[in-house]
Each structure stands twice: as C-alpha cells, then as structure tokens.
C-alpha cells in the first residue's frame, strides 16, 4: 500500500502545488558582530541555559575532572583522557555495550565535537558518545570541549562537516529540562540532571 500511496501523494502534489517558481534564498551567516573571543559569550549562554563550567584549577583540566568524579558512584567514560578503572568504578564505554546498560551511571564523561556561542550549546555525535545513550541515561554529564572549537552561531554550527557525516548528532544545551507544570523549571526531566563543560584542548 505504501508504493501506491507514494504515487498518489506525488500525483496530488504535482496537481495541486501553487504554480509559482520562487527561488530558494541563500542564508547568510549573520556573524558580522561576532566577538573575536567566543569563550565568554559561550560561558554566559551556557549559564543562562542551566549548564555550568567545571573550572580547571592550575590549568590542569584532567585533575579537575578526576576531582569531580571521585566517590560519585558509577562513572562512564567515553574519552581517552579518563581511562576505565573498575577499582574506582570508572567504566570505559565500548561500542558493543547495550544502550540500557548505562542506566546505572551517575556521571557520564564525553567530548563535544564543537560548541556554539550563540546558545551555549555543545554538539555530541555518535562517534564521541560511542553508545548514544551515554549522552542522556547518566544522571549527570561532564562534557570536554576544546575552546578552539566554538563557533559563533547556529548558522556556523549547521555548516560544520559533522552534520553531514554522523548518523546521530545532538545539540545539547544545558541539562534536560521541563516546566510543563505551572512553569516551574525542573532540571532532569528524563535526561541528565546537570551538565558541566570542562574546557580541555583535544
């Protein structure tokens, strides 16, 4: 029935579409006012969207990461900067793991391919997540981001090659949120309860 319906739908479109030929407009980048340093606006927007920055003390982001995960329950790592270690309850995520096996994770550690200053967004792709549910089944998320990989706005974000090469890519902005009951903002609707960004060159 799908094949017949396909033909019927296309025939109906061709019979009914308005008989005009307006061009497809080009979309500008709207970046003439973008600041040279995109880190401060990124950080400001991240905060407004409910996320925060995990500060690297003494310029050592990995030490800050270790401090943030110590004794915090089960940790899932998708990054080479943090190795799996069963004695510390750090689980290295492998591609053959079942998506639901991440349900008991307290903190997930992933790397973003890039950030977006306009909205404080990080882009997570299937390659970096290893198992896609690494991005939203853990209770909390720590995202490593190379400050050089921040683009000015969403026009630049959609121009990134990642958008054409990955089966799954999510622009994540702050934690999972809802305000479906009387506008009261809740962090951690079904996804992560908190999102921290750790600046860390790749």
């Amino acid at each position: 029935m799908s094949t017949e319906s396909r033909a019927a739908i296309f025939a109906a479109i061709r019979a009914n579409r308005p008989n005009i030929q307006p061009p497809l407009p080009d979309v500008p980048f709207f970046d003439t006012n973008a600041p040279a340093d995109l880190v401060p606006p990124f950080v400001e927007m991240l905060g407004k969207m409910g996320g925060s920055v995990l500060e690297a003390k003494d310029g050592d982001p990995i030490a800050a990461l270790r401090a943030a995960i110590t004794d915090k329950g089960i940790i899932a790592t998708c990054v080479p900067e943090l190795h799996g270690d069963p004695s510390l309850r750090i689980r290295a995520i492998r591609p053959d793991m079942a998506p639901t096996s991440l349900a008991d994770v307290e903190i997930g550690v992933v790397r973003a391919s890039f950030g977006v200053a306009e909205t404080g967004t990080v882009c997570l792709t299937d390659d970096e997540l290893i198992v896609n549910t690494s991005g939203f089944l853990p209770q909390h998320l720590i995202v490593l981001l190379d400050p050089k990989q921040i683009v000015a706005n969403l026009h630049h974000a959609y121009n990134r090659p990642e958008m054409r090469s990955h089966n799954y890519a999510v622009f994540q902005t702050g934690p999972s949120a809802t305000a479906d009951i009387e506008g009261v903002l809740i962090h951690g609707a079904q996804g992560v309860r908190s999102l921290r960004v750790l600046f860390c060159p790749a």
Binding site: T3, I13, M49, M163, A169, A177, I181, V184, L185, Q190
Partner: protein, 510 residues
Amino acid sequence: MSQQQKPDTPAGRTNEGAPANLTHGAGASVTMPARGPEPQPRGAVIRGNHPIDQAEAAKRFMAAPEHLAMHDQRLWDLRQKRDRQKDQIEEWEELRQLASDIKTHTLTHLDTYLEMFEKNAKANGVHVHWAKDAAEHNAIVLEILRSKNAKRLIKSKSMLTEECGFREYAGEHGIEVVETDLGERIQQLDDEAPSHVVVPAVHKLRTDVAAVFARTMGTDPNDCEVTHLAEEQRDHTRPLILSADAGMTGCNYAVAETGSVVVCTNEGNADLSANTTGLHIVSAGIEKIIPKLEDAAVFVRMLSRSALGSPITQYTSHFRGPRKGGEMHIVFVDNGRTDRLGLEKFWTSLKCIRCGACMNTCPVFRRSGGLSYGATYAGPIGLIIDPTFNRHKYSTLPFSSTMNGSCTNVCPVKINIHEQIADWRRVLSENHEIPAFKKSMMKAAGMLLASPKLYRASLPVADSALRHLPRFIVYNRMNTWTRGREMPHVPKETFHQWYKKNRGKKGKKS
C-alpha cells in the same frame, strides 16, 4: 479533589525547581500565586460530526477562576519572553522573511525535495514509507512494530500522531504506548488530548496533576510540590523506557540534502525514544521537508524563541541514519496536506512549524484553553487548519477570534493567520456552514459596511445607543462579543462629525 489541600508555595519562577534566576525552556519568568485546588474545566463536548461549540467550553473555562488566571498569566509570560528574545536578535525580521521564503520555495517544489530526501535517507540505511491518510500511517507503524514483535513503544511528543489518533489505535492493537514528555504523559494518564502544541498540560493546575498522579501512579494527592511531581514521573517512567521494545518520535524538519530528521525537545525524550531500543520510527508530515542544512539554522534559531522565549531547546537532535545495530524508519503522511496545498487562500498554512506563538498571544486562546476547540490543532493556527480536515465539524472555529492580528505578527514563518481566518468565515458562509443567527447578523453588517453612507449614518446611532442603552441590552445572551468583555467608552462624536465641525468641507480648520 475536595480533600486536596491548597498549595503553600507560589509557582512559576520559584526556587523549588531549578535556580530562581533561570528562565530557559518553558520556565516562567514571573512568580505566580499559589492557586487551586479547583475542579478542572474539561474541553469541548464532542457530539459526532456536530459543529464544535467552542464558546460553550470557553464559558466553562472562564467559570473556573483559578485555572483561567493561571493559564492567562502563564501564556502571556511566554509571549513576553518571546518578545525579549526577538529584541536581542538584530536580524529577527530578516530571519522571519527567510523562513517564510524557504517554506514558499519548498512547498512549491515539494515533490522534488521529498524525492531528494527519500533518495538520501535510503542511502543512509533508513526505510521510507508513505501514508496517504491517518489510517494508513497507523497500519504501517503497527506492521513495523509487529515485524519486530514489539509490545511496548516509548514515544516523544508528536502532533501528527495526535492527528492520526495513533495512541488509541496502538492500544486497541495490543501495543503499550508510553509518552515520555512530562506534559504529554500527564495528558495520557488523564486520558485527555494535549491542549497546546508545545506545553500540552498548560491548562492544568499542579493540584490537577497531583490528582492525576494519585489516581494512576498511587502517589499522595496532597503533595503538589512540582519538583516532587516531576520526580515521581521520572521514577515511574524510567523503567518503562528501559524495558521498551521500540521508540517513536515526530519530526520538526526533514532535511532533503542529507536525508536527516531534526527533532527539538527540552527533556531529551526524542533521544531516549530513538536510541534506547533497536527500532526508531519517525512520523513526519510531508510539509516538514526543508531543502538544506543551512535552512535548518533559520528555523532552529526561531522555533524555541517564538514558542517559549528560550534561545534554543535543550536538545536539538539530528537523526541521519539508524544507530549501530539498530533500524530506522520514517513514515511520511499526507492526511489532507496535498488537498490543502491546492487551496489558493490557505496553502501557506502548511508553512507552520508548530511553535504555538499564535496561541500564547491569542486573547481567546488564553481565556478559553486549548481543549475548548475540540480539535487536534487549537488556537489561531487551528482555526485555519481544522476546517481542512472537516468543514462541517470545525465550521464554527474560525469565529473564535477577535481578528486583532496578533497571531500574524508573532508568526515566525509569516503566515497571514488572521486574514485566513476572515477568508475561512467567507468560504464557510458561502458553503452554508455557519449558523443562521450569525449569518443574518453578518448579512446586515455586510450591507452596512458595503455602503459608506449607511455606515456613517449608523455610527452615531450605535455610539449613542451604547451610551444610553441599559446594560442588560448591550450585555445580553445574543451578543456573544460582550461575554467576558467590557465595551469601550464611547466618544461623544464620531471622527467624521469632528472633522466636519473642525476642518470644514475643504479640509481647512473653520
């Protein structure tokens, strides 16, 4: 309900949830008084194919002062948040024009882009299906689920599946559907349709939600702390998500050049629904297609700003193919859309990106609630879409508007909503689909408005009548306009009388 206690904390911008300075997502930017409990007014009475009596349902909504006040304040706050966001974007009006032009181009080349999408999606390993109506959509999805022996389906919010009545159909065929969006889940548990395209349970007080959860999940009916209610739902739904066999999402944009599907949520439930099981089914209206990734940027920049006054949804998810070891299907649905494409005055309604800005700004919607429209699509956009599904049943809806044009002003894709409402009134009256009483009133008004002389002669009489008539004549049952409204103060003279007196015949001051 009667034994429920009054909430002891205000709602909206309070520190019971996220930090009080944050207003992203659908979060309120104002503190709202503690309201309720009060019995929840229900939506329009559906009587088969009989025209919906929206005014009757609206009257019941307005007779529930706690619900009315919360709903009105909450949606107006979203409108004001939207204004603050657009004021920060210098190119806002340019973006609106681009969005409108991209949609015009795409809709007039819809076959080309659907074919392009299909080719690219198939190359990415996605199965593409075509459904000419709701029944076919439901049958196709059921067949996919049965082929995988799937029994439990987790789902993110989708207006198209509401339009198709998919949840009921799936239930009748042995599939357990679990809505994962908090608002949608509340509505599912209460066996009620969503009242708003973006915030489905916005018409409910937290005491209503507490009552629904108590009834369906066994929680304490007196605990109406919003943080507790949200947490109960998370705890209750998570095991269902983890044990599901299949996932389903809607589609905000289908990008032709990459064959990818873009879904916007604040909760991350599209990601959960798509990635947790091995099967992801996407329901998409054929009008959701956009040509390029660069076009997606225009719509993503405007969607959440228009809808909620938030810069972006917390999750904007891009599905270009199945996850490793998984399967991905997309079902494209017509269900009246190709007919709409052929309606000269109304085809641009297909540009709609379902942001709900027209609902938030509409004085009728804010005071009557989305369920009063008795249709899948409520508010101004509903008034111009619903009659395309059923001209008789929804024939009264285009009259539920004050014609103030605010919907048109806030629409991110520049649909001339209020003009289409007026055009629908004319079409429906020509097709004898409007009640006799309204018709005789409109005929009289038409005669008056068609003749400048008659119109001018009538004005001082009408103004004078408004000044001198006793209240019970102006504010009577026949005059639906003055229900819930005060008439304006009447000027002593009309503009023409003033002009004649002060400027004389030649336009000079006498």
